[in-house]
Amino acid sequence: MKVSIGDDIPEWDMPSVTRERMRTMAAILRDPNPVHWDPTSTERWGFKDKTINQGPLGLSYMVNMLHDWAGPTSIKRFIMTFPKAVLSEDHVIARGKVTGLREEDGTMIAECDIWLHNDERGTLLKGSAEVRLPA
């Protein structure tokens, strides 16, 4: 796999963040926080009739982008921050860029900036990843 610093990682598109998936995720995570399933609980932040996506679910879209790019066992490290909420019905696009390359134990590691984009509210999540590149 030929990768260069500055390369864009192919985007991964989530056309709509659904409430049904948030509810399933709440059960799997055993996360009782109502912001993920009760839209009345988010009114204090001005999110009228919206629920807030779980952090692990929002970052999973960037995991999926990296898997599609470099393979399902490629992620070595993944650091994510959450500047803005991902809301129900949001259309979000996972994006990334290669910022560095290094060799480690015979494997090429790509250092990447990654982020989750929404057309209306810009960058919702952002972080970095270290990705093992296939030979």
């Binding site: 989530m14 998936r21 399933t24 995720m25 799997i28 995570l29 055993r30 996360d31 009782p32 926080n33 109502p34 912001v35 609980s41 204090r44 779980q54 952090g55 692990p56 679910l57 970052l59 999973s60 879209y61 995991v63 999926n64 898997h67 399902p72 066992t73 992620i75 070595k76 490290r77 993944f78 650091i79 994510m80 921050t81 959450f82 972080g127």
Partner: protein, 151 residues
């Protein structure tokens, strides 16, 4: 509803070194299937667990809960928690039907005050996952902000 009083800073600092009971966690196929479906991806090959599990598997495997983690930091409410970061290190992939040993502790805890007046307690939890042979396979570092309101 009045806010809870801000806990003494010393009580927050004293959390450093707190160890969770620890234990084992096995991701079953149904759980991984549903989790992966929630992410919008197809199931991964060979029973590989989707990395999105790196949030709840360490917590549940350490024999704690999100609610207990909120309570340890004396959170004012569920809504008062902010995420600083999740840092997941995957030394090797996780697989379904493998019993991982989980150990966990609080590694950092202190009060932060910003010039804007915002006050929060920053608490960091570190979870280590080892395979049945004792090999470290993954680490999850969760850093949360426990936002404090001044009455």
């Amino acid at each position: 509803m009045p806010n809870k009083p801000i806990p003494p800073r010393a009580e927050i600092q004293a959390l450093v070194g707190h160890e969770f009971p620890g234990g084992k966690y096995t991701v079953q196929h149904w759980e991984n299937f549903l989790l992966t479906e929630c992410t919008g991806a197809d199931p991964l090959p060979d029973g590989q667990v989707h990395p999105a599990a790196m949030f709840h598997v360490p917590i549940l495997g350490a024999n704690t809960t999100i609610g207990e983690m909120f309570a340890l930091g004396q959170a004012e409410s569920d809504a008062s928690i902010g995420i600083e970061s999740y840092d997941w290190e995957l030394f090797s992939p996780l697989f379904e039907e493998v019993a991982y040993d989980v150990t966990a502790s609080i590694t950092e805890a202190d009060r932060c005050e910003e010039e804007s007046g915002r006050v929060y307690d920053r608490i960091q939890f570190v979870f280590n996952l080892a395979d049945p042979d004792g090999k470290l396979v993954a680490r999850s570092t969760v850093t949360w902000h426990y936002n404090r309101s001044r009455n």
